[in-house]
Each structure stands twice: as structure tokens, then as C-alpha cells.
């Protein structure tokens, strides 16, 4: 009975093996399909904080080369570190913000955001004057501004000192730097989006698709932790333009503001504009009750 039909058994075995191999290949398909875009070096890359200077140099060179091959654009990706004696803070004067969205537009271009979604780290909410009702804030207004009886409130990452987004990250792909900026290692992020859910300011964005920027519009002045072209499936956020601000320059959103509603600087410098605002204006933070201790302040003129 057992060895009655060896040919049939062999055929079944062969068939089973073929099916098994096919199923195995199918199961591995994502890996094989994934390989062309992720090199072994990239896959094995260490966490940002574990890279020594030489390794970081290699990583930056590889990323620049990848960008050149993908887009044909020669970019410079730097890794500026926090400046000693510098703690950044930002304040925004709601009395003179006119809601023109120039800040969001500047962010869009500076940070190489996806063109199709017109992404930006800044969302400007149009609200009834005197309400500050964020839930009823309209981020999609298009009529000429400022409209009578409306208040405009740009919202971006508040670089919280007690940042919930950092706490919820299961793999420490996002953390707070010495100068107060909360950053993301795009090569370490697994895209779980816990941080997006944890942020009370709706400040984090997820790259549902690979951001598409026309080659001629790519900003070549890039940094590893800020505006380099992000891969698909990772989180991103405002970094106070660290590739600019760690060189002493203003963030792009401040330079774009026509009214001067934005005040940025080093709070450790007693002579800085930001210190004067914090000491002399009646500043407040958004959602103070949730205990995030933002480094982003709002104020009204008296």
C-alpha cells in the first residue's frame, strides 16, 4: 500500500516543493522588490547618535550620491550640530499676523516638501476674532486676507521641552537636541505614526508617498536631520530650519513673513529679541494645560 505508486508520490512531492518554493518566493517578494531602493549600507546604518564622525561622513556622501542618481541634482547634505550656549525659542505676534501663508509657502519650498500635496510644516488657522477655538479653525481659506473679524494663527512644531511625540516613539527615532529642537532620524523611523497621534498640535506629517519635487525646485542646501529629501513611510516635522539656524541664519518662515509677526532667537542671550518679547509681552503657549512646555510662544500687542 505504502510503496504502491512511487511515481505519484514523487510527483506530489515535486508539486508540493514547487508550490512551497513559489509561496516562499511570494512571501519574500517585498524584500526582493525593496532591495533596489535600499542598499545594504543603508539597511545596516546605525542610529544617528551611534554614528561616529567618519561613519557620518560616509552616510552623508552616500545620501548625496543617492540623491544625484535619483534626481540628477547635486545637493549638499550637512550635519550641523547644536551650537554651544544656544537654546532656541520662537514667538509669534497674533496682532499683526495677516494670514497670508507666506510662511507656510516658504517652508514648503525650503524643506523640499511634496509638491502634489502642497505640504508644509506650518498650518495657518483662520478663526473668529476673540475665540481661539482651534477645533473650528479653518486651514483651507482662500479669500483675500486679513478678513474682517478673523484671527490668523500659524501652528507648527512647538519643539516642546516635555515632548509627547518623543516619549511615544518605540525606537528612539525622534529626540530632543541640546538647542531645544526635536528631530527625526528618517533612516531610523519605522513609520508607526505614534508620534503623529501623540502631538497635540498636529505638527507632524507622515510621508504616505515618496515626496516628489521637480529637480529644478529642489533646495540643495540640506541637512541630515532637516530638509533632505525624505523616503516614503517616515515621519517628518518642523526643525526650526536647523540647517539655517545652526549657522546663525533665520528660519525660512521668519524671512518670508512680511509683517514681522515672527520673532526667533537664542533665549540664553539676554540681549536677544526673543528674550525681550518673552520678558515684556504677555506671551502664552498653546494648550498649556497638556503640559508640553513648548518653546513656541504666541502674543498679542497691548
Amino acid at each position: 500500500m505504502i510503496d504502491e505508486d512511487p511515481t505519484r508520490r514523487l510527483a506530489l512531492k515535486a508539486g508540493g516543493a514547487t508550490l512551497g518554493a513559489a509561496a516562499f518566493a511570494r512571501a519574500l517578494a517585498p524584500l526582493t522588490e525593496w532591495k533596489p531602493t535600499t542598499s545594504v549600507d543603508e539597511f545596516l546604518q546605525k542610529h544617528y547618535k551611534e554614528l561616529d564622525a567618519a561613519e557620518m561622513k560616509e552616510v552623508l556622501a552616500r545620501l548625496e550620491q543617492d540623491t544625484l542618481e535619483e534626481t540628477g541634482v547635486s545637493v549638499s547634505i550637512a550635519d550641523p550640530r547644536p551650537l554651544p550656549g544656544v537654546r532656541f525659542a520662537y514667538a509669534l505676534n497674533l496682532s499683526i499676523c495677516i494670514g497670508c501663508r507666506r510662511c507656510a509657502e516658504a517652508c514648503h519650498k525650503e524643506n523640499n516638501h511634496d509638491r502634489a500635496s502642497h505640504n508644509s510644516y506650518i498650518r495657518v488657522l483662520e478663526m473668529e476674532k476673540g475665540s481661539l477655538d482651534l477645533a473650528k479653525g479653518n486651514a483651507h481659506y482662500t479669500s483675500p486676507v486679513p478678513r474682517k473679524g478673523k484671527l490668523y494663527m500659524p501652528v507648527q512644531c512647538h519643539q516642546c521641552d516635555n515632548a509627547p511625540c518623543v516619549k511615544v516613539c518605540p525606537i528612539e527615532a525622534t529626540w530632543k537636541e541640546a538647542d531645544g529642537i526635536v528631530v527625526v532620524d528618517y533612516n531610523w523611523c519605522i513609520g508607526c505614526r505614534y508620534c503623529e497621534a501623540a502631538c497635540p498640535y498636529h505638527a507632524r506629517r507622515f510621508n504616505w508617498q515618496k515626496p516628489e519635487v521637480p529637480a529644478e525646485e529642489i533646495n540643495p542646501d540640506q541637512a541630515y536631520l532637516s530638509n533632505r529629501l525624505r523616503p516614503q513611510g517616515v515621519m517628518e516635522k518642523c526643525t526650526f530650519c536647523l540647517h539655517r539656524t545652526r549657522e546663525g541664519r533665520f528660519p525660512a518662515c521668519l524671512e518670508a513673513c512680511p509683517t514681522g509677526a515672527r520673532v526667533f532667537g537664542n533665549v540664553l542671550d539676554p540681549q536677544s529679541e526673543i528674550r525681550w518679547v518673552l520678558e515684556n509681552k504677555r506671551v502664552f503657549v498653546l494648550k498649556e494645560d497638556v503640559g508640553t512646555r513648548p518653546r513656541f510662544f504666541y502674543f498679542f500687542d497691548e
Binding site: 505676534n93 494670514g99 486651514a139 483675500p144 509683517t259 525681550w276
Partner: protein
């Protein structure tokens, strides 16, 4: 900006910037045409001010403070500050008026706007502008 009562190919009114005729110093002033004739279309919507509140009664290219002290065109901000003290204070403290360049002035220069770059002296209220396009994102409030 003075309206010339002419429009360009898109129908946008053509204006002549004040600086076209009124240079930074009186010696550069353009005197090729009678001033009052040229300024006929000028709308003054600036409180209850008369021309002579800021301009010299005879030579309109010269400015003066409320106590009649002459003030250079380049120092016009001092003139504005007589009434707009809080704005001037905030400007000096870096919390009014656009700027660009370096927050750390030991590393590089900074450029500041002058009052009149946003507020036309004769009609200082800032006109409405079209906002930049909104985001097309998920989860933003409608």
C-alpha cells in the same frame, strides 16, 4: 505710490514709487514737473493729517517733525515714531516689521524693512492680499 491713471497690459494700475522722484536726499529730488500737478490723484488716508504735518510747507521734498525740526528722508522713521511709539519700540526690539539674514549678528548681517515698505505713508493701512495656496492634507480642519 502715486497713481498715474494708466494701466498695464493686465489691467493693473501703474503707480510711480515716491523714490522715483524723491531721492534719499533733497539734492537728488526731481524738480522737472510741478509737484501739485503730478500729485493730483494722490489719496491721503492717514488720520487727520494735512500735507504740512509731515512735509515742509514750501519744499514738499523736505520733511519735518511736529516741532518743525527738519528730518532727512532717510530718517522718516523718526517722524512716524512721533505718533506710532509702540510700533517703533517693537520695531527696535525686533518684533514688528519683516527682516531677513542672521539671528546671530556676530555671524552675518541682517536686513530690516522700513515702515514705508509695507505702509504707504499717505495711506498706511495695509491692503488685503491673496493668501498662498492652502495645504491639501489629510486630517486638517475643514
Amino acid at each position: 505710490m502715486v497713481d498715474t491713471e494708466r494701466v498695464d497690459i493686465n489691467g493693473t494700475p501703474i503707480g510711480v514709487a515716491c523714490g522715483t522722484c524723491h531721492g534719499p536726499s533733497p539734492s537728488e529730488s526731481w524738480a522737472g514737473r510741478e509737484g501739485e500737478d503730478f500729485h493730483t490723484g494722490l489719496q491721503v488716508v492717514h488720520g487727520d493729517l494735512a500735507c504740512e504735518s509731515c512735509h515742509d510747507a514750501v519744499d514738499k521734498t523736505r520733511l519735518h517733525l511736529s516741532d518743525n525740526t527738519p528730518v532727512d528722508m532717510l530718517d522718516a522713521m523718526t517722524l512716524c515714531a512721533q505718533c506710532h511709539g509702540t510700533q517703533f519700540r517693537d520695531y527696535r526690539r525686533g518684533s514688528h516689521g519683516g527682516m531677513s539674514g542672521y539671528w546671530d549678528t556676530t555671524r552675518g548681517p541682517r536686513e530690516r524693512n522700513h515702515c514705508v515698505e509695507c505702509h504707504a505713508p499717505h495711506a498706511p493701512a495695509v491692503p488685503r492680499v491673496s493668501p498662498a495656496p492652502p495645504p491639501i492634507d489629510r486630517g486638517a480642519h475643514e
